[in-house]
Symmetry: C2
Subunit: 159 residues, 2 copies
């Protein structure tokens, strides 16, 4: 009945935030063109809704070996944009629910978040699609997260 097929863990990630950028056309393009020009692979990109109507916090993940260079690029662009700050952290892992049609299953994301919270695992970033719900958590929590999610979604019953 559940649409979840598996749990994926990516420990080779680092998260970067470019905070309080102007929320107007061209900003996202500037940041990610600069990263692309350095051939830096970007995995997750998230932009949520900001409490200020005119600002945005852009966050993205890169592979851990690229962190230093990605931060340099981000800081350079942030300066030009007069963004408030660039933050970075490689003490993270990305844990993802992989499935199909998860959008039409309202409880799936809730259950993933609930499972993580039961072990006091804090969720730092979230991005979803119909086939994937990804959460960034503290790196040391990654394997535990996979374990408890396998159990919660009945995936540990398959050998």
């Amino acid at each position: 009945k559940e649409a979840v097929r598996g749990i994926a863990l990516d420990e080779n990630i680092a998260k970067i935030g470019v905070l309080k950028v102007p929320d107007k056309p061209g900003i996202a393009a500037k940041i990610f063109t600069a990263l692309a020009n350095e051939k830096i692979n970007v995995d997750m990109i998230v932009q949520s809704i900001h409490s200020s109507g005119s600002l945005a916090d852009m966050a993205f993940s890169v592979e851990r070996p690229d962190l230093k260079q990605a931060v340099e690029v981000a800081k350079k662009v942030a300066k030009e944009l007069k963004a408030e700050n660039v933050v970075a952290d490689d003490d993270v892992a990305k844990v993802s629910l992989v499935g199909i049609g998860m959008v039409s299953q309202p409880g799936t994301a809730a259950k993933m978040f609930e499972t993580l919270s039961n072990e006091k695992i804090n969720i730092q970033m979230i991005a979803t699609s119909e086939i994937k719900i990804s959460c960034v958590v503290k790196r040391e929590a990654g394997k535990k997260a996979v374990q408890i999610l396998h159990k919660a979604f009945g995936l540990d019953k398959v050998s």
Copy 2:
């Protein structure tokens, strides 16, 4: 060479933000369990990095007919969480690049953002996966966005 296969447009969406929630375990679970209990389908969920270390802005999208009920649920939970605010807007559309392996193509997201900015289309929310890059834009910009993205990614050459 490009991994992009198509452009999708969803005009049946509304965005909701629960702003400045405490960034600690259990918060995401509370919000989305409440929505799931009302059988409200949630499509995108995004959580970016917040400039305050201890807060988060949670944003999500629902189908437009569910906006009113989703806002009621969100406000109820927001009150319990002492979140700052719930914001909502149904004057939006979601435009998505659909493809494969887009993660390993650093310039793809940048090109999408650049194309939108060339027409001064502001990007309000972003969520990505290897097979999908989704941007929330103003609803009136949705069809234009699809058009210019088709052109930019050479998809208009196929009949």
